[in-house]
């Protein structure tokens, strides 16, 4: 067996293990933050400060019976939770964690992430449609309108950074930025960072843009019929996608593993966790938007701003090229 294959296999196992661990930690963080935002302690009983609570929840989920509703499409119904989780393993591969610490160093890493992230929407759609449930179908319909819309400003804001760096390789983009915060891309592309974070919330279906789930109106949206680990897979994938989105933001805008004093991987994890905490705080601070508001924010604000930002960036990049060459 060639060495590259073994290399990829080891990476896959490591990624799968870290996804599981991150999801456990994030469930705890989310419930603790939710608790403190609402002036209650959150999980408290199992382990110190409720630290073992998510582990018990996970065991409970695994132990539960898997149900399928009558007249549901059996193949597509079980395909959806698998499909939502599979691409996640691939999305972690091109992320530069530290200097020379890239599981899969390819030139088009950024594009790889963007391409395979699109499969998640498909899985949500299949789940909603195959459940043979009106709430599921409504959730799926919302998921499409939302993710198709929010993908455009996301891509445009990412492209602006790619223009500046002149590369789609995340490792190169990180290396182009300097050690100190004022050398990071967020200083030259603050608008792109803002657009990216807002559209990332929309793409990962996080509150205030969690309309495909919208428990107050759609019970649970696309995954309403899933029990046990069927639901668990969607849950895992949501947190895993959050990590991917925050890691890409870190690499593109916040200098990735670059930082003073501390070693690279520590900086990377620190920045990613701060962004994740930010996303969690937003969820428990802002109310859910209405659907027309959601689409208006995207088409009337994010999209024109992203296009303008991209045009300006292209202009300045070209200008810089001419002035520096001559």
């Amino acid at each position: 067996m060639p060495a590259e294959l073994i290399h990829i296999l080891i990476d896959l196992v490591a990624v799968a293990a870290s996804v599981g661990l991150i999801a456990l930690v994030m469930v705890w963080v989310e419930r603790k933050v939710a608790g403190h935002v609402q002036r209650r302690p959150g999980p408290y009983e199992v382990g110190p400060n409720g630290l073992l609570q998510p582990l018990c929840d996970a065991l409970k989920l695994i132990g539960k019976q898997l149900f399928m509703p009558d007249h549901a499409d059996p193949i597509l119904y079980w395909l959806a939770p698998v499909l939502v989780f599979l691409p996640v393993l691939l999305l972690y591969m091109p992320l530069p964690v530290g200097e020379g610490l890239v599981p899969l160093d390819i030139n088009l890493g950024l594009l790889l992430i963007l391409a395979f992230a699109g499969l998640t929407v498909l899985a949500l759609l299949l789940a909603g449609w195959a459940s043979n449930n009106k709430y599921g179908l409504l959730g799926a319909a919302r998921a499409v309108a939302q993710s198709v819309a929010y993908e455009i400003p996301l891509l445009l804001s990412v492209l602006a950074v790619a223009f500046v760096a002149g590369s789609l390789n995340l490792d190169t983009v990180v290396k182009e930025q300097g050690t100190w915060p004022w050398n990071w891309n967020i200083m030259t592309q603050p608008l792109a960072f803002l657009i990216y974070m807002v559209s990332a919330l929309g793409e990962t279906n996080r509150a205030p843009f969690d309309l495909p789930e919208g428990e107050s109106e759609l019970t649970a949206g696309f995954h309403v019929e899933y029990s046990g680990m069927g639901f668990g897979m969607f849950f895992l994938a949501e947190y895993a996608n959050m990590v991917v989105v925050c890691s890409v933001a870190t690499a593109l805008f916040l200098g990735g593993w670059q930082g003073p004093v501390l070693p690279g991987p520590v900086w990377f994890l620190l920045k990613v966790s701060l962004l994740m905490l930010f996303m969690v705080l937003i969820r428990w601070t802002y109310p859910r938007v209405r659907f027309d508001q959601l689409l208006n924010i995207n088409w009337k604000w994010l999209m024109p701003l992203a296009v303008a930002n991209l045009l300006l960036t292209a202009f300045f990049v070209k200008l810089a090229q001419y002035t520096f060459v001559k």
């Binding site: 030139n107 499969l119 499409v144 309108a145 198709v148």
Partner: protein, 169 residues
């Protein structure tokens, strides 16, 4: 490595064939859609084998991530169920025409492949995105612009269709 590439070729071919058969034969529109997606993914794999990663990723980003999701949306809006009128088998004339189309296209292609076999199968060179972009805006500018005309026509067609229906109401 060459053996691995051959195995990958076999797997991709199998995915493409199974997907396309599912796409045309499935009773449920959504299952047909899944077949189409499998085919598109298989084609992306073929691009990968041809050492054009950019094309493969674009295929996934555009066709799997955007186009098929939009088709899916259309299916959901029409609420076509498995027992609907589309599920009935096609009339004989249509079947004969479809068979004719398949045999003509397939016949020409297989005749070409059999009489003019590919001479070499060396590893293709990877073309960087810079080269691709310069090519699209330089020597192949006309083809590139023509593609945008096709997009414009389809967009205008969609607007026209929506317009007529609104006047009809």
């Amino acid at each position: 490595m060459e053996q691995l590439a051959q195995i990958a070729f076999g797997v991709y071919t199998l995915i493409i064939l199974c997907g396309s058969v599912l796409a045309v034969s499935a009773k449920s529109l959504v299952r047909a859609m899944v077949g189409l997606i499998a085919t598109l993914l298989g084609v992306a794999g073929m691009y990968m084998l041809l050492n054009s990663t950019f094309l493969a990723l674009m295929q996934i980003l555009i066709y799997v991530g955007a186009v098929s999701v939009l088709i899916f949306f259309a299916i959901m809006l029409t609420r076509a169920d498995a027992g609907g009128e589309e599920a009935a088998s096609a009339p004989l004339r249509q079947n004969v025409l479809a068979l004719l189309a398949v045999t003509v296209v397939g016949g020409v292609l297989s005749w070409l492949i059999l009489t003019r076999p590919v001479v070499s199968s060396g590893v293709p060179v990877e073309v960087s995105i810079e080269k691709l972009g310069l090519g699209l805006l330089g020597p192949y500018g006309l083809a590139f612009e023509l593609i945008s005309v096709v997009l414009l026509v389809s967009m205008a067609g969609a607007v026209l269709l929506a317009w007529e229906r609104r006047i009809g109401k």
